[in-house]
Symmetry: D2
Subunit: 422 residues, 4 copies
Amino acid sequence: MDFALDSRTAALRDEVRAFVRDEAIPAEAVLDAQLAATPDEWRFRPIVDDLRTAARDRGLWNLFLPGERGAGLTNLQYAPLAEETGWSPRLAPVAFNCAAPDTGNMELLAEFGTPAQQAEWLDPLLDARIRSAFCMTEPEVASSDATNIATRIRRDGDHYVVTGRKWWSTGAMNPDARLLIVMGKTDPDAPRHRRQSMILVPRDAPGVRVVRPLTVFGYDDRDHGGHAEIVFDDVRVPAANLLGGEGEGFAIAQARLGPGRIHHCMRAIGMAERALALVGDRARERVAFGVPLAEQGVVREWVAEARVEIEALRLLVLKTAWLMDTVGNRRAMTEIQAIKIAVPRAVQRIVDRAIQVFGAAGLSADQPLAELYAGARALRLADGPDEVHLASLGRAELRHADPRRADPRHADLRHADHAAGE
Amino acid sequence: MDFALDSRTAALRDEVRAFVRDEAIPAEAVLDAQLAATPDEWRFRPIVDDLRTAARDRGLWNLFLPGERGAGLTNLQYAPLAEETGWSPRLAPVAFNCAAPDTGNMELLAEFGTPAQQAEWLDPLLDARIRSAFCMTEPEVASSDATNIATRIRRDGDHYVVTGRKWWSTGAMNPDARLLIVMGKTDPDAPRHRRQSMILVPRDAPGVRVVRPLTVFGYDDRDHGGHAEIVFDDVRVPAANLLGGEGEGFAIAQARLGPGRIHHCMRAIGMAERALALVGDRARERVAFGVPLAEQGVVREWVAEARVEIEALRLLVLKTAWLMDTVGNRRAMTEIQAIKIAVPRAVQRIVDRAIQVFGAAGLSADQPLAELYAGARALRLADGPDEVHLASLGRAELRHADPRRADPRHADLRHADHAAGE
Amino acid sequence: MDFALDSRTAALRDEVRAFVRDEAIPAEAVLDAQLAATPDEWRFRPIVDDLRTAARDRGLWNLFLPGERGAGLTNLQYAPLAEETGWSPRLAPVAFNCAAPDTGNMELLAEFGTPAQQAEWLDPLLDARIRSAFCMTEPEVASSDATNIATRIRRDGDHYVVTGRKWWSTGAMNPDARLLIVMGKTDPDAPRHRRQSMILVPRDAPGVRVVRPLTVFGYDDRDHGGHAEIVFDDVRVPAANLLGGEGEGFAIAQARLGPGRIHHCMRAIGMAERALALVGDRARERVAFGVPLAEQGVVREWVAEARVEIEALRLLVLKTAWLMDTVGNRRAMTEIQAIKIAVPRAVQRIVDRAIQVFGAAGLSADQPLAELYAGARALRLADGPDEVHLASLGRAELRHADPRRADPRHADLRHADHAAGE
Amino acid sequence: MDFALDSRTAALRDEVRAFVRDEAIPAEAVLDAQLAATPDEWRFRPIVDDLRTAARDRGLWNLFLPGERGAGLTNLQYAPLAEETGWSPRLAPVAFNCAAPDTGNMELLAEFGTPAQQAEWLDPLLDARIRSAFCMTEPEVASSDATNIATRIRRDGDHYVVTGRKWWSTGAMNPDARLLIVMGKTDPDAPRHRRQSMILVPRDAPGVRVVRPLTVFGYDDRDHGGHAEIVFDDVRVPAANLLGGEGEGFAIAQARLGPGRIHHCMRAIGMAERALALVGDRARERVAFGVPLAEQGVVREWVAEARVEIEALRLLVLKTAWLMDTVGNRRAMTEIQAIKIAVPRAVQRIVDRAIQVFGAAGLSADQPLAELYAGARALRLADGPDEVHLASLGRAELRHADPRRADPRHADLRHADHAAGE
């Protein structure tokens, strides 16, 4: 067991950290000004292109993507970089072309796409010439249970016809989001997890109607392309647009979730670190009732509790990344659920307390805290509410007697007992 | 970064686990019977000797002690073994001669003892021929602040004379605890952390008076030697009994704390695991309102939350052990405080919920839960209440601006960024 | 709406308060000494008789009992008195002959007993010449679901024959507990809530076997008669010993619960007040790191939170008492469940923090805190675990649409909208 | 002690409830449409006037104001009405002319205003012909400590000259907010609480500059006049504009706080009730994993916990109102602080869980939950963060030994021990 970063990761981490500190965070005020100047836009603002150019010049590009097309990092190597980008969630991930939902979509195209699909969609995404959206959640059903999905994808000769209504399609208000990856049912009579397929739908295909943007608290996330409700009204696409085979939609969606949660959780930890750094600055400066906040017991206790939680949860995410790299996503399921549950709510609590330290300023746009809060809060619902994952994890845990009481030969990966070299 | 156990540790862990499961846990009922038969004893009961013989025969002995005198394990290697012993805290640690406070006392003697001191006290302790106690806490002062200690150790020719009152001297009711290591002030006028010294006092020295036992939630921990209040009434011991030099008491006490917290915390994690295993058994069997507890949402949620907490906190303790091994106790201070804060209260909460699953049986001696609870609860006060450590950790955290915002060259060990081989 | 106590209650409250402060609390040390002198006894110690004589002389006797046989107070009038007795739970309730389980048993005998049953059992209980126990909970079943009860009560000519196993029969280790009120099944084929009956069983009837005492944490509650496991082995009692009619056991048990919860909850609030008073004393005296605890932010925050919780919960208990008095126990069901859920866990939390303020002394018998804690903790399981009541209350709440959205004529008592005199 | 509403209050409560249910809540969608149609307005939209006309026609007008100018209700009588308006915080309070900050400003003018001030400002406010704002908080200082206030009010002949910067002046973006009540320092050398004064400043006075609006979690609260930052640049107003005397600003501010907290807290309880009603509707309809949410244990437990908290906290607010009515604001200080601390955080938690039940829809504008959440969250900072009040309450609590241990004659109002008519 060894808790040190390897040297490549450590070097990259330092570069990403410096970039975020020196380029992305200072650019936030520029973004605010550009947003104020073009209030009706849903596109990226010019500052994003500036940052992308700078990052790409430094070789900090597509860090999330394993294999030759990307930076070739493992999950364990990418995780510390993702954390750094969480310090500036509006600008840092996109600067490195590492922003959701494009990351997950690129992973799917890289893993399941045909060469033609990759040429048409993956290459421009890797080049940041276009963006994309992922259309999974539906307003009418509890879509944390993926088998509830009602959108239909019907074969009709050389085409598929897509009919349904999706919402929370992040980024899809942005007209540059040329590609929509849509999950729907191809065979309602197949076994529960073989009914769904995924299909590539151009945003400008006839019948695609972007109905309206949704807000998260009062934020419309306009600079990232917002969150759209989209109607698919008998949308015809070539049969070659199917991603993977018919009935493989559920499995493909699962494949997307593992890395996505590592990314989300590590970024969320970076968000908590930034909140904590802001608290530190404020607490050293601000005096109330004659005493700097930094010397007040309650503030100290909060900061300590935040530090402890962050340290423990970061390790859990890193271990999860390691498990995904070494034993695969399926066997890392407990840990993937665990981080999905634990990290967002811890970060929500930490940012809530940070707001309290800032007083009303913390609620406003003068500080990034309220927006960080909204982001962390939304993570507790993205990919299903906490409670679904708690129930699933609890069920699995209660299924069997604890092997340590019965069978010493049990290979409990969870407890890190692999001998190196075994 | 690598989360796998090395092969020696993995093998030892399996052996310890098997021993605890097959020998220690089944022996708990034997211990209860022996306790009932000799209610007035403060000594170990015969079953302890039986277990020690069995453990020593298997080479599972003094596992906690680094170097040649012990098993030669690092903190990181010992930690997973300590966790296993937490499954049976009344019998497993003592079976392997790894029970507090003897462990800490043996560490002190091994590190700071003269050859003569080691021959007289360390060897019989390593052989489990005697026991020992550590006399630090005092009833009159907030002894979480070690500089408050009022016991005096005065030089008088070739002797020191010890005068004071100690309590919570764990194990000291046991007449086999022949050695008391006592902390007191040798020079009240020295700088704050140079006033204290430690001295070895035989329990049968004239002037040592064991006043009374203390209880923890009604438990007297009689089988372990209880918790004693002791008066030192002008107790004379040879000057050669001083441990280390005059004024080194505070530093020696600090040295004792780091490994002690690793041990306590890992055992506490084992306690939580046992509670969770018991909950699993109960929840699968018990039916309420027509539904097994294991299928009830609230129980599932508890179990899931417990699993997540345990997984994260175990990693934090292991990382702390690794830091102690690689950069030393002093630079691991934040993490040592973090585990001291986080682990006991998580375990307290987990065991509390386990009791709730068992109903009133959980409060009784029919299950180990209430006693596990009392043990975890006491850990929140041992070596100073949580709040002292939270305040200290928070103060340190707030002292400086976050280096990630200012200085990329900062070597923040806490975030595991050492490249292997750097 | 009026939050002032009526003048009789205010006067009685002052008298009870003074008695507890001046007689009961100072007698706790006497009780400890008498316990130490007679460690094998399960009976009340002499100090209890002294206190009873003093209380009865002042007319403070059977305050809990409505009607002519008792003090004639309503639930709302008795509640503030019960709170005062919670300051010294080992001595104050028993001093006023207001200690569970005798109180509930006396209520049952007063309400459902025949004149003969009252002459034989109620009169000596009102006179404190005997004690009693209530035998409801069984080890084999989840007895929070009363319909699970397995003990059989079979008619056999002029007798009933009782067969079964009970535990947590509080007080029953005391040989003075001459009367056992036993719940069992008379007709397993009747509708679910008509199967049970209650029967009066003399503790010395042939076939009654008090098997063993149970402990709560490490406490055996020896001075109160402990908590017994009892086997009923074909115990024959005259048919006239049935309390109420056959099949009325469940209804009788329900009748017992309402007032019992008021009493328990108000006493628990008194326990919290005492813990808070102790914290105040300690915090004003104790200095840590150069600052009195009373001036440390974290201690202040705890104390403030405790004060807020206590104030809110006291009002909820008082309102519940008022509802029971004005609309009856059945219509006060939501509030009765609410206080059962909310009060014990708040008191547990408050006492836990009080322990933390005292350090290890708080765990020991030098302070009443650890024992208060065990008492509050046990309340979360008495009469069914919190979770059963939460589920029931939540189910009721979710059953119907909120009437305020639909029907203005709804008479929602819960929201205190009765006009006086309507 | 009596928990029933008097008949006038009960009747008014029913009328207000019906109005909110039948008029205000259905009008929320109308408001949204009017907001979408006039996105750049900071004024009330036409629907507000419609509702006001309807409410005034029913005699539901200025309910908050005691005395002849208002409805003449006590705090205890108004509180249940305020709760009802919390069901629709955007429309109900304003419909009854009971919306902050006008309510507090009208109270000040009614209590401390000269006849001329009342004629000029109070009458049009009571008639809802104008609005007003309260300018207290400053960006540069911790204004929870009112003595920090830096804005200067200097006498200059027959005028005062106001210089300073304020923010979080709620409503002040609305050009109809003709009156600004400004707190500032008149005498920096006076004793701490005699330095401040309040002065009436017309929003159109030369030198008043409304700099910008602030947001709360992305919401600009545009329909209510938002939250403004305002610079006062040597603003001259006649000396007759001083409210009360010089040096009375702190005392006047305190007078404003008590009723304001009753109003805020009762409205917040209404917000929680609405959230709970929405949860009920959703939980009965929504099916996840084959089971309606209303039958899932975790949802039931949340709902039960919310119900218990709401019931207890409502009583605490009502008792606080009663104390203010019977013994005055000063002696009700502990309770006023208690509700300020306890209610907003409970409501925040309840609404957070309601969002979780709704999934991502709960974050969006399709449900009122996210906006209710932002409102409850902001209350934890309005008039000073929780922590300030916790510290103050804790300090007061720790100042003296508990009188119940020492002095039976102590008149502890807090524990409701006044006999009626004593």
